[in-house]
């Protein structure tokens, strides 16, 4: 076969193919209604078959289609859910600022309420203790509240809201449920000044342990700033240990006997010739005084000391 013939054959085949394609497109256009009718009948047959089973309609095509689609559906739902939650978060940021402000106000309000409730609770406890003290005390009590502290750093006194008009007198002991607080050093009709037991100028007669059984008698005075008391003149032979309680003896002419002073926190042991040095933590909460009670206690009158020499007196009397 010559080259010319080959080319002719090739061109003829190309034309045939082109015509075939054209014919196919044309045929498709012409046959589209038939395709349509066929497909519609197919669908109708499927529907009729499907409609016959009223119970389950669990067709194989559904089972397979849903099995194949489920991983993609899950992924899409997951991604969509994440996207939606992201946009919801963005949307919620707009309201978050206002909500945050409201919550802050609410928290502040609740904190105030909680603080007030705590204060009320503490106050209730304190008043209950004062009531107990009043019931147990054998002396008349004048309840009082601390209304001021000495404004300077140099004095350890407080001002109470009861004065001479209420029966408060000089040197009357002031107590609270934990123990002695101090004594009245000045009065006005409506107020009184109280020198605290921690003041280095205050003093009280005290004993370590039970009165009548203890031989550790001495004098308690304040140490000033550190809030502790010091007990002096306790015999070095007396047995004193940390944790022992200290009570008033009533020999100082100010405090009645048996009132709690505090507990021993440190003992510097003495000897037969030197006394113990004992540090005591006050039983009363001196640093947070609010309610107090003034004891209407008058110490028994002491006989006036004999000032003259015995021989002279005797001689004069005779």
């Amino acid at each position: 076969m010559s080259r010319k013939q080959l080319l002719l054959t090739h061109h003829a085949s190309l034309i045939t193919v082109f015509m075939a394609v054209n014919r196919t497109q044309k045929e498709i256009r012409q046959r589209a209604p038939w395709w349509l009718v066929g497909l519609l009948f197919g669908n109708l047959a499927l529907m009729s078959y499907d409609a016959r089973d009223d119970v389950t309609k669990q067709r194989l095509i559904r089972v397979w289609a849903q099995a194949v689609a489920s991983p993609f559906q899950r992924a899409t739902s997951g991604a969509g859910g994440a996207g939606v939650s992201f946009f919801q978060k963005i949307a919620s940021w707009r309201t978050a600022v206002a909500e945050n402000e409201q919550l802050k106000q609410r928290v502040a309000q609740l904190e105030t309420e909680v603080r007030q409730a705590r204060i009320d609770h503490v106050e209730t406890e304190r008043l209950r203790a004062m009531l107990d003290l009043k019931e147990k005390s054998e002396y008349q009590l004048i309840p009082a509240a601390v209304i001021a502290r000495d404004p300077s750093l140099w004095f350890n006194t407080v001002t109470i809201n009861r004065g001479s008009s209420s029966g408060v007198g000089l040197n009357m002991p002031v107590v609270m449920p934990g123990g002695i607080v101090g004594r009245v050093v000045a009065t006005s009709p409506w107020t009184a000044q109280v020198m605290l037991i921690t003041d280095d100028k205050s003093a009280a007669g005290a004993a370590v342990g039970q009165l009548g059984e203890s031989s550790a008698l001495g004098s308690v005075r304040g140490l000033g700033e550190n809030g502790l008391l010091e007990m002096r003149y306790v015999s070095g032979l007396a047995e004193v240990k940390v944790g022992d309680f200290v009570v008033t003896t009533g020999q100082d002419g100010i405090y009645p006997q048996g009132l709690n002073v505090g507990t021993v926190v440190e003992v510097k042991s003495g000897s037969a010739t030197t006394p113990h040095t004992i540090h005591i933590k006050p039983g009363a909460r001196i640093d947070s005084l609010e309610e107090l009670a003034v004891l209407q206690y008058r110490p028994p009158q002491r006989p006036a000391p004999d000032q003259t020499l015995p021989n002279v007196d005797k001689g004069r009397k005779q």
């Binding site: 349509l36 497909l39 669908n43 529907m47 067709r59 095509i61 969509g80």
Partner: protein, 183 residues
């Protein structure tokens, strides 16, 4: 390659149609497979439109619950596709604005046929036609208009040419010869 693209787009539409309702219920009003069917029916290829229509419909039926009739959506979407092809070969509806009534009509027609088929075969529907059809019509028309525009960017020959021209223009703008001329 084109057939693969079509299959992917159709699959995506079907998966999204069944999944988006889980995220937000009103998204079920948008009939994504119908939008895809309408788009390919507008290409005036009758056989392709019919095949896409029947595939989309049958797949939608298969992914649906047991209450829906198998083949009902296949029937309605095939018929819708054919009608749009017939319309597109007689009237020029390539204009994006002209597609809006086509989408709306397709949504209404598809729903009507679907509901009628169920009524004919005595299959009860959970919702009334009047409650659902208007919402589907509005949602599908609005979202469909946007999706048809997006599909145009990926499938149409004119869009491909536009992309090529834009690329050439960009290259021409950056040409060093032009820079020299400015100097």
């Amino acid at each position: 390659m084109r057939q693969l693209k079509i299959a992917l787009v159709l699959s995506l539409a079907l998966i999204l149609q069944s999944s988006l309702g889980v995220i937000w219920r009103p998204l079920t009003y948008i009939d994504l497979p119908l939008i895809v069917v309408v788009y390919f029916a507008l290409q005036r290829d009758a056989l392709q439109a019919l095949i896409i229509g029947v595939a989309a419909g049958l797949a939608a039926d298969a992914l649906g619950g047991p209450k829906s009739l198998l083949g009902a959506a296949g029937f309605s979407k095939t018929l819708t596709a054919y009608l749009i092809v017939s319309l597109a070969t007689r009237v020029n509806i390539d204009n994006p604005l002209a597609r809006i009534p086509v989408l709306a009509g397709a949504a209404l027609f598809d729903d009507t046929v679907y509901v009628l088929l169920h009524r004919m075969l005595n299959q009860p529907l959970d919702y009334r036609f009047i409650d659902r059809a208007p919402l589907k019509l509005i949602s599908t028309t609005i979202v469909g208009t946007l999706i048809l525009y997006a599909l145009d960017l990926f499938f149409s020959e004119r869009a491909r040419q536009r992309r090529q021209l834009a690329f050439r223009r960009r290259v021409a703008r950056r040409s060093p010869l032009k820079l020299r001329r400015r100097k």
